[in-house]
Point group: C2
Chain length 117, copies 2
DNA sequence: CAATCTATTCTTGTTTTGTCAATAGTATTT
DNA sequence: AAATACTATTGACAAAACAAGAATAGATTG
């Protein structure tokens, strides 16, 4: 799994702003650990994030009780992995984020339309 | 011009991230001063921004030479107004932002699709 | 047992953000 | 004409977020 290259260019603030909902979406599909999320985010197009940014976001979301974590000591190819899964509150947070993302998509659409006229 | 209400609720970081391209788009259409931009942003849906956030963004964009400003002492209903207009470099910055916004729109689309399946 | 890969946390300095106060001119009211 | 309210912008500061790298540590491979 090629986890080599981070941060070659500065990512826009937009990319970072979308990290939280992206994590919620991925965790809704199934529980994962941070290292996996890192590459899942990359395949979504969020490939410029420093690992510590992702881990920090996960810890913050755990403080908010949007996710819960536990240790996975089995089937690991390294040290124990922290496995995150969505909580009920996290599902609600995701629904709020969905509305926010929809508003944002419409706004971006309006901006693009305006900027091309 | 009802400029009353700012910041009743916390705005998401997404909203703030989109401020810069929004200002460029508005200034591409015509030169404006900050106070007008404030209400133009509001009618675009960016209504939760504190005035000083907008003024600061404008000053930063002037440092980058994306916009130029001059004083408008005539036709004012108050103190002199600083009028901003887009520079050639600002137009190029806007083109870069357009691509960024398009990428972001696609990414949000993918997230929304994933989160609803 | 040294090197490498997987996996997460911690630390530190820098940037960005949010908020509030300050300034100041004009318009309106009394 | 003094007081008040509205228009318009700037400055300052604390709090939060971010970037990057170092530190930790288990597993695997040679």
């Amino acid at each position: 799994m090629g986890m080599a290259s981070h941060c070659e260019e500065r990512h826009s603030p937009l990319t970072a702003s979308i990290l939280e909902p992206a994590l919620l979406v991925l965790l809704k599909a199934q529980p994962r650990h941070g290292y996996t999320l890192l590459s899942d985010l990359a395949s979504l197009g969020l490939n410029l994030l420093h690992p510590s940014v992702v881990y920090r976001a996960l810890r913050e979301m755990e403080d908010l009780e949007w996710v819960q974590s536990g240790w996975d000591t089995d089937q690991t190819q390294g040290p124990p992995r922290r496995v995150y899964r969505l909580t009920t509150q996290g599902e609600e947070a995701l629904r709020n984020w969905q509305e926010e993302l929809q508003r944002m998509q419409e706004l971006i659409g309006r901006l693009l339309a305006l900027s091309q006229s």
